[in-house]
Symmetry: C2
Subunit: 332 residues, 2 copies
Amino acid sequence: MTLISLDLNEIYKLAYDAMKSNGCDEANAKALAQIIYSAERDGSHSHGLFRVPGYVKALRSGKVNGKAKPIVESLTSSVIRVKGGNCFAPLAQKIGLKKLVAVTSELGIGLLSLTEIHHFAALWPEVEYLAENKLVGIACTAYMPSVAPAGGKKPFFGTNPIAFSYPIPGEDPIVYDMATAAMAQGEVQLAARDGKRVPAGTGLDINGELTDDPKKILKGVLLPFGGYKGSAIALMVELLAAGVTGEQFSYEAKENDNGDGGPPQGGQLIIAISPKLIAGKNWVKHSKDFVARLSAIDGVRVPGKRRHQNRLNNGPRKINADLIETIKSLLV
Amino acid sequence: MTLISLDLNEIYKLAYDAMKSNGCDEANAKALAQIIYSAERDGSHSHGLFRVPGYVKALRSGKVNGKAKPIVESLTSSVIRVKGGNCFAPLAQKIGLKKLVAVTSELGIGLLSLTEIHHFAALWPEVEYLAENKLVGIACTAYMPSVAPAGGKKPFFGTNPIAFSYPIPGEDPIVYDMATAAMAQGEVQLAARDGKRVPAGTGLDINGELTDDPKKILKGVLLPFGGYKGSAIALMVELLAAGVTGEQFSYEAKENDNGDGGPPQGGQLIIAISPKLIAGKNWVKHSKDFVARLSAIDGVRVPGKRRHQNRLNNGPRKINADLIETIKSLLV
């Protein structure tokens, strides 16, 4: 695999140009380019430029509206809904999260329901934004059926990621974002592309047998992480992201998708909580002491640390040369 | 192990008498007896009468106040706090949940923070109550350090259970309640008592080595379910139950506990969400269709089904004879 160095600005521009020249207006292109830039900056390659060809497919097929103007509604004083009008998720998030911060900073808890969006990115940017505003964040989205519920052998759940953040004012927040699949779909795709094996337990082949070949798993089914308990978390994500928002469950997303390879329509649910309003004055010290204790345990890493360290490097990033060529060929 | 049949009423009365004769007033004794009765009725033995000796120890040592009168406060229009005054959790829950239902049914999302409580029971009764009121429920509590974060070998997290419920009007709700430990502490204790082995991966012995002997794990440390992803869920539970409520983290609970063997002081956080207000009119059919599809998958069981089936049986329950003798010896 040949790697090429790109500056962070070049990464942003490449993503922006790909969106702009395929039908996105300024607002949509900027929101998406920012998300791709952040992913590459933090080392989340499976959610960076790797996603651009899929985004372009969705624009070209007309499934995604690159000029969509999301509509914000207050369903109650604590609940905001943003109807994306079939935009990519980042623009709807950008608009909704700002309002979610305002609501939660006043009421202690708030909920953001995103509908008519197409989510194809990581979820940590959403919850990290909440943490930067001194709020706890929980975000969930469903996707296309690719994971078998515990006991089953057929795809039903999406890879159903859940992201969580906890603010530590003056320090990096605790942030994680993980598929409830044993391995994220994007990681399995990268392993397949690079000819690597994956750990046993990642998934089943088309006959329902365990395999460590990512190509066979992509034709078969992923397993949830952690057996029936992980399956229960995947179920929660599915019900929050689609049941509560009223958007499509993973199986509906598949049934109604045009199969262009881009992200299907779906929903996202984001909960924000203010520890300041609930725990009271001592919450910052209390939280800092906790992180100090956790970090001091031999062998333990605080979630989010690696990304935050990657971010300190402003230098160029190594990007797959074939991917850059592919994206350049999509500029029209 | 000798088993004795007890009617459900006899189970309730045994629990009630144990509480009443050890310093509980009427309200505290009733709330606790109801929780123990529900656990035995549904087959959750590790949270039923098995817990009574521990409850009594906490009353006798004075750690728990059996006559506590919990205080309810509205921190904001969406956030309720109940200060338990060192009661057992069920009484504080009973008072707080009623208000949480009212708030959430109006505002779409609500949060209940329980502090100064002693939680020693299952969490499904809390979230099932929310589901019976057509709300989604998420509940978390921390405990004493007994689980090593992924990568570590020393206890830091509690068994940190998370419970989730989703209402399906006209049908049984989806409900689960699980420790984020590979196995609940109560289950390990039962296995140790009954001389059984536990699955590999449940925990480490005192030297940090894997073992399937529950007695060695009780002296060593439990592992989280599902590796680093399960550890991330355990971390979320710890931060919600103690960080957001401002109550004791698991390690603080241990440091400040009197070691009487009863439940330490801690917090509990409960979130409720109204799908009706957020998803809109079609939510009931949408949710029913989802459960029908999930149930139809070969080998898959919908969480909560077994408990709800056990509940249909009004007959007597088989209880460990030694346990009954122990509890009777605690009646004064």
